[in-house]
């Protein structure tokens, strides 16, 4: 035990000495969470709109006003020439143009169904789609307030209809933080242990201290245990910190059991620490280790359902996600947080995570040769 304790103490001292490291270890996750928590929003606001009102009737002014009274659109210019639309859209001065044709009001009063034209910059496909939806909504709402004769009347349902009564379970307010933040926890639980392990082992190889360690009677397992336990502790500390802050700032609610989450996170750490060891066995420099770790990470994150839902992927990629340990952890953490799932429902995931953990950890320990050649 003493060699392991000596290793652990040394690792902590080294982390402590590199003060920037400490700051990064704890600041980086927090910043990441803050940015993601606030940035990930499906809402589109303040779309820059230009309006060409060729009609300038009471009704057309009514439509224009509807666009001015929402924070979804910022009206940049009115009454510009039709031919200037191109310049605005191409020159990044507006994203959408609304064109109300001449005689719009007159045709509307006669019930002749005039057209309203929306032109949108499709370069940012997502925003364009959402903004178009909003604009249609605003137009339609205004339309329903206008009778075919053009006089505002109040809307009343006439035909019997099917009515959907919706209940949103687990996330009543459709708050995306509740979904994304637990995901970030998984990402952190992957990046930090994997990078730290890989980089610190390779670093010792680079500066020659690994060789020094290998001539001591300390066993391979003791060496790795001494390396990994500090990172395990650090990872857990981060986990706690990030979750606490998440609950405090984003009001992320935890419906499940902390011990269960802790236990599964522990299992998952075997996978990520193991990957770190694995990377260190075939890289010579920290730069290499970093790149390989990146390589693994990008794939794991992309294929985990973190921000691209797995059902959206093509069949083949969906199947491939089963080989990604992060996928299981992603489900587990979200289920525990949001649904309060008990271990019974998570058994398949726990099984998969345990399998991956054992496999990757054992394989990397075997590959981590105590000899050099």
């Amino acid at each position: 035990m003493r060699p392991v304790l000596a290793m652990i103490k040394k690792e902590f001292l080294q982390v402590k000495r590199t003060r920037e490291m400490l700051a990064l270890l704890f600041m980086f996750p927090l910043i990441q969470m803050l940015v993601l928590g606030y940035a990930i929003t499906t809402e589109v606001k303040h779309v820059r709109l230009i309006i060409v009102d060729l009609d300038n009737s009471r009704i057309s002014r009514e439509l224009v006003r509807a666009f001015q009274h929402t924070d979804r659109f910022d009206v940049q210019a009115r009454d510009i020439l039709l031919t200037h639309i191109g310049e605005y859209l191409q020159g990044w001065k507006a994203q959408m143009a609304l064109v109300i044709p001449r005689d719009f009001g007159r045709l509307l009063r006669r019930g002749l169904q005039p057209d309203v034209q929306l032109i949108v910059d499709g370069v940012d496909g997502n925003t364009a789609g959402v903004a178009l939806g909003y604009a249609r909504g605003i137009l339609q709402q205004t339309a329903t307030q206008l009778s075919p004769a053009g006089h505002p009347v109040s809307y009343r349902p006439t035909a019997p209809r099917l009515h959907l009564q919706e209940r949103m379970w687990y996330n009543l307010n459709l708050d995306s933080a509740q979904f994304m933040i637990p995901g970030i926890v998984v990402v952190l639980l992957t990046i930090i242990p994997m990078m730290l392990t890989a980089m610190s082992l390779v670093r010792e190889r680079e500066i020659g201290t690994l060789e020094q360690l290998l001539v001591t009677p300390m066993g391979k397992l003791q060496l790795l245990a001494g390396k990994l336990i500090p990172f395990l502790i650090l990872s857990f500390a981060e986990l706690v910190l990030v979750m606490k802050v998440a609950q405090w700032i984003f009001r992320v609610q935890m419906h499940g059991s902390y011990p269960l989450l802790g236990a599964i996170a522990f299992i998952y750490l075997f996978t990520t620490l193991g990957l770190g060891i694995f990377i260190s066995t075939f890289t010579q420099t920290q730069q290499q280790a970093m790149f390989v770790a990146w390589f693994f990470m990008v794939f794991m994150i992309l294929m985990s359902g973190f921000f691209i839902p797995i059902p959206n992927m093509p069949e083949l990629l969906q199947t491939l996600t089963y080989l990604n340990p992060m996928r299981y952890m992603m489900f587990v953490i979200r289920d525990i947080f949001q649904k309060g799932s008990s271990w019974v429902y998570l058994l398949p995931d726990i099984g998969a995570l345990t399998g991956f953990g054992l496999l990757i950890f054992l394989a990397s320990i075997l590959k981590f040769s105590k000899r050099i050649g």
Binding site: R2, P3, L5, A6, M7, K9, K10, L13, Q14, R17, T18, I207, G208, T209, E211, Q212, L213, L214, V215, T216, P217, M218, G219, K370, R371, I372, G373
Partner: protein
């Protein structure tokens, strides 16, 4: 001297890296309390021999015993009985002198009081006490070397491997260092040292000269000098290598 027990035995020790023959059937014995110098240019195979003797690298062929243990089968026992100082002075630069020592002491299962006691002794012997709380990175090079030596000596190993221990250190520190080595040998430790400073060979009891993976000469420095009628080891080395080159 041959009456004493051998501390290191190498028999036809060979190591290949792919098709490159780094060490070619090397045989020798080092006796207890002896300072055995391994000389050769960079890339002659000195470090590879050390690594095999420490159990860091498996031999491709041949066999060797260090402190009575086989390098193929008893690697773990070997590690209990050797100290090793690599040419890079592999220290943790971001730890202090004391922390480095405590760390290596821990690796060798030493108790805190043992580390403390040994540390006092080494501090006195190596004049390191003033630097106890200095970060390793801030030490003058000569003291880095001493610290690396202390780390290798903490567990009192009977056999000490020093791989280019004096590279980059100024001449005075080098002389002091060899004084230390000699007193260690007098206390019964076996010292296996590699160097490419030929004048340092004079400090060794016996030397082996390596060239392209082979031992081309092995004896006491005096005998080698007498045999080739040269006054310094530097000249002995040059003439031996020239001889090798003309032969091949």
């Amino acid at each position: 001297m041959n009456q004493r027990k051998p501390a290191i035995v190498a028999e036809h020790l060979t190591r290949r890296f792919g098709t490159f023959l780094a060490v070619d059937r090397v045989s020798f014995r080092v006796y207890e309390g002896e300072i055995f110098g391994f000389l050769g240019a960079n890339g002659a195979g000195k470090t590879t021999v050390i690594r095999m003797l420490c159990g860091l690298l498996a031999p491709s062929d041949g066999n060797a015993w260090t402190a009575g243990f086989n390098v193929r089968t008893q690697v773990e026992q070997i590690k209990q009985h050797i100290g090793y100082m690599s040419q890079k002075f592999s220290l943790y630069e971001d730890l202090t002198v004391r922390e480095n020592l405590a760390f290596y002491g821990g690796l060798y299962h030493l108790r805190r009081d043992q580390i403390q006691q040994k540390k006092q002794q080494l501090f006195q012997q190596l004049e390191l006490a003033a630097f106890e709380t200095t970060l390793a990175r801030d030490l003058p090079l000569g003291f880095k070397q001493r610290l690396a030596l202390s780390c290798a000596l903490l567990h009192d190993p009977p056999v000490l491997f020093l791989d280019e221990p004096t590279s980059g250190v100024d001449p005075r520190a080098r002389r002091d260092f060899w004084g230390l080595i000699q007193s260690l040998a007098r206390s019964g430790k076996t010292i296996f040292v590699t160097t490419h400073f030929m004048e340092e060979a004079e400090y060794c009891h016996r030397v082996a000269i390596m060239h392209e993976g082979k031992i081309v000469a092995m004896d006491t420095p005096e005998t080698l000098k007498a045999r080739s009628r040269k006054s310094s080891m530097q000249q002995v080395f040059v003439s031996l290598i020239q001889q090798q080159l003309t032969e091949s």
